[in-house]
Structure formats: structure tokens, C-alpha cells
């Protein structure tokens, strides 16, 4: 995957004079496509909220804000791991493998927390059709969770491309592209957390 394109690129600052597209151009088709669609999600939610202000406020109070914050911190830290891993691969630093593994574990943590959060909701009798707020809650966090799972799959593939000595066997474009997707997952959660749990 694009092995040659970035093979020479081993500096920490990938620009080093010239501008550099993280990953490959095609990844950004997906990223911007997703950004635009999630923008539509956010605006639809904000408009729907205006119709039922009280209901949204009361329902929001039922969410577990602590778990939401915990998940935010998990994803932020996971993003940090991936950013460090990309930089480490550029420096031929074998700790890149460990950092990628750490990112995966933190991402799995997010999934586990989400599982407990959903089951607590269902146990309390709050389901998809409880009211219009919870349609948004379940659907948006569910679609985001799908992104998390895809991202974990991509990171697992990236992880498998390290050999035991921690050397990366593919082009830098692969880990950069996977990293950019993982940061997208983090970034979308930041907005979802603010909209669903806080505002």
C-alpha cells in the first residue's frame, strides 16, 4: 500500500519543507464524506431539539455523564498513542508497536464502557423508542460505535504489520491513513459528547 510513496519520509515533521498529505489522498475522500454526513446528523439533532426543549433536557439528565467523560478520555488517550506511534515509525523507533497496541486496548475500553452504558439504559427501561431524544442517542452513538469497530479493525491490521522487533513492514502511508481515521473517530465523539451529554 503506497510503500514507495512515503518510504523516504522519515522525519518527525513530515513537511520538512514540502507539504504532506497524511495517509493518501483517497483516505480524505472518506474523511470529508464522513465529516459532511455527521454535520448533517448534528444539525438534524439541533433542529429536532428545538421542537421538544423540555423533553430533551429531561432525557439528557438521564444519561451517565461520568461514563461519557470516561469514554472521551479513553479516546483522547488512544488518539495520543496513535499520533506517537506514527511519529515513532518515522523514527524507526520500535516502541511504535507498543503504542499501537495501547491504542487498540484503549479503543476496546471505549467499546466495553459503551456496552455497560447501553445495558444500564436498557435495564432502566430506556430503549430506542422511549422518546425522540433516545432515538438520536442510540442511533448516533451506535453509528459512531460502528466507526470505532471499523477503526479497531484497521488498527489491528496496522498492528499485524509490525514484526517482533517492532519494525513496521508496510509503508508509512498505511499507519498514517489508519491514524487519520482513528482521529476522526475521536473527533466525532468529542462533538457527540458535547451535544448529547453536556449541552
Amino acid at each position: 500500500m503506497n510503500d514507495t510513496a512515503h518510504a523516504a519520509d522519515t522525519t518527525n515533521k513530515p513537511s520538512a519543507g514540502k507539504r504532506h498529505v497524511p495517509g493518501e489522498e483517497g483516505v480524505w475522500v472518506f474523511i470529508f464524506g464522513d465529516l459532511i454526513v455527521f454535520a448533517a446528523f448534528f444539525v438534524t439533532y439541533a433542529v429536532g431539539r428545538l421542537d421538544e426543549l423540555d423533553l430533551f433536557r429531561e432525557s439528557q439528565a438521564l444519561l451517565d455523564r461520568q461514563l461519557g467523560l470516561l469514554n472521551t478520555l479513553l479516546l483522547l488517550t488512544s488518539s495520543w498513542c496513535v499520533a506517537q506511534a506514527v511519529s515513532a515509525v518515522r523514527h524507526k523507533d520500535p516502541r511504535a508497536r507498543l503504542l499501537t497496541g495501547g491504542a487498540i486496548l484503549l479503543g476496546l475500553g471505549f467499546v466495553i464502557v459503551k456496552f455497560f452504558e447501553y445495558s444500564a439504559k436498557v435495564e432502566a427501561g430506556i430503549t430506542l423508542n422511549t422518546n425522540s431524544f433516545f432515538i438520536y442517542y442510540y442511533m448516533f452513538t451506535g453509528i459512531h460505535l460502528l466507526h470505532v469497530l471499523i477503526g479497531l479493525g484497521v488498527l489491528a491490521y496496522v498492528f499485524s504489520r509490525f514484526n517482533r522487533a517492532g519494525q513496521f513492514q508496510s509503508g508509512i502511508g498505511l499507519i498514517e491513513g489508519g491514524g487519520v481515521f482513528w482521529h476522526l473517530v475521536d473527533l466525532l465523539w468529542i462533538v457527540l459528547f458535547a451535544l448529547l451529554y453536556l449541552v
Binding site: 497524511p22 496513535v82 475521536d186 458535547a194 453536556l198
Partner: protein
Amino acid sequence: MASLVKNRFSLIWLILVVASLLSWESMAIAGDDARLGRMVILVIAFLKVRLVGIEFMELRHAPVLLRAGFEAWCIAVCAALLVLFW
């Protein structure tokens, strides 16, 4: 080997964590003015989003068009939400 702790990414991470905690408490800080609280939360959220994009996604080294597209998205979506949550 370069330190994993003392570098730019760690500083960004720290800023992001502090910002998260700040927005977490902003309803309490804003007190009775719920609207102020909402605006603060949204602005902090999009400042965080921008940081993740520019720093973690390394858009600050990317071609100007790519970066500009991302910045425009942040501004447009944040502005739309600020209006809708006013």
C-alpha cells in the same frame, strides 16, 4: 530515543484533557446562565475538534487546501450549532 512524554503530542493531549474537564464543569461555572454554559461547551468542543485535526491528524503540515477545508468545516458546523442552541 525521543521521549514519549515530553513532546508536542503530549502537550496537546494535556490541553485536550483539561478542556474536556472544563466543559464538563462549565454548566456549574456558568451558574444560572444556561445559555452561556451551552455556548462555552460548544466552543470548547470545536476548539478540541480543531486541535485533533490540526495536530493529531497533522493537518498543519498538509497542503493548504486540505487544511482550509477542515478549518472551514469546523467554523461552519460550530456556527450553525451556536445559532441553533442559542
